[in-house]
């Protein structure tokens, strides 16, 4: 049984092909830090995070957001084996970065909000539902190697 139906894969890939991954990455990470300020705990070396404007225009936030979302995008190419695709990153986030997996769920939902913001009506309930499955799958895969 596939993680996503053929129709859901179509919806996800169809929308994702129009996403500017670098830009959306920066936007999503920025909004995570604005909406859930406690997530800033992982980014103490990033400089000025003192206001929403400062966060959204911070170069390190944009660069890191780009990195994170490119990795997510690569994962989408292996949608039927997310655990395999994110195994190494899962170990990294546990052993080196010490990130609570709840943060992956928060970022996933912020990403959904950013996609809704960019795509408007095109991001209809069915497209959203497919993406909710994807972000839940990625979050779960990233948490899978935790111990």
């Amino acid at each position: 049984m596939s993680f996503l139906s053929a129709e859901e894969k179509g919806l996800v890939n169809g929308l994702w092909s129009k996403v500017n991954v670098d830009e959306v990455g920066g936007e999503a990470l920025g909004r995570l830090l604005v909406v859930y300020p406690w997530t800033q705990r992982f980014f103490q070396s990033f400089g000025d995070l003192s206001s929403a404007d400062a966060i959204m225009s911070n170069a390190k936030v944009k660069a890191h957001g780009k990195k994170v979302l490119n990795s997510f995008s690569d994962g989408l190419k292996n949608i039927d084996d997310l655990k395999g695709a994110f195994a190494k990153l899962s170990e990294l986030h546990c052993d080196k970065l010490h990130v609570d997996p709840e943060n992956f769920r928060l970022l996933g939902n912020v990403l959904v909000c950013v996609l809704a913001h960019h795509f408007g009506h095109e991001f209809n309930p069915q497209v959203q539902a497919a993406f909710q499955k994807v972000v839940a799958g990625v979050a779960s895969a990233l948490a899978h190697r935790y111990h």
Binding site: V112, H117, F119, G120, H121, A129
Partner: protein
């Protein structure tokens, strides 16, 4: 978590712009919730949940009206929402996790329809507001 005066202003301004669309957005948020989080449908076995359902539209209007009231009484949510709080605690008993799903889908709906309003700061304020409302609605659960 406390709503700052900036948060309250953001929420009032955003909700004001929504105006008469509130009911429509309430229904859309419900539809999104049922689609993305199918376990939420367990609370509505008596509803027709198909797209455009009159029951979902009516319920969306109810939810929107309650939120409009909450916005108008943003300085005293526990009092303003006391009856709804009783209803959810003693009659509906919706598991608290579901308020997060609906809140998220309300944000998504607003992001879709009002991109200019949905700045990061407003996004944050709305998330806090929905969280505060959810807390009040589950405050008498035990």
């Amino acid at each position: 978590m406390v709503l700052s005066s900036a948060d309250k202003n953001n929420v009032k301004a955003c909700w004001g712009k929504i105006g008469s669309h509130a009911g429509e957005y309430g229904a859309e948020a419900l539809e999104r919730t049922f689609c993305s989080f199918p376990t939420t449908k367990t609370y509505f076995p008596h509803f027709d949940l198909s797209h455009g359902s009159a029951q979902v539209q009516a319920h969306g209007q109810k939810v929107a009206d309650a939120l409009t009231k909450a916005v108008a009484h943003i300085d005293d949510l526990p009092n303003a929402l006391s009856d709804l709080s009783d209803l959810h605690a003693y009659k509906l008993r919706v598991d608290p996790v579901n308020f997060k799903f609906l809140s998220h889908c309300l944000l998504v709906t607003l992001a879709c329809h009002h991109p200019e309003e949905f700045t990061p700061a407003v996004h944050a304020s709305l998330d806090k507001f929905f969280s505060a409302v959810s807390t009040v609605l589950t405050s008498k659960y035990r």
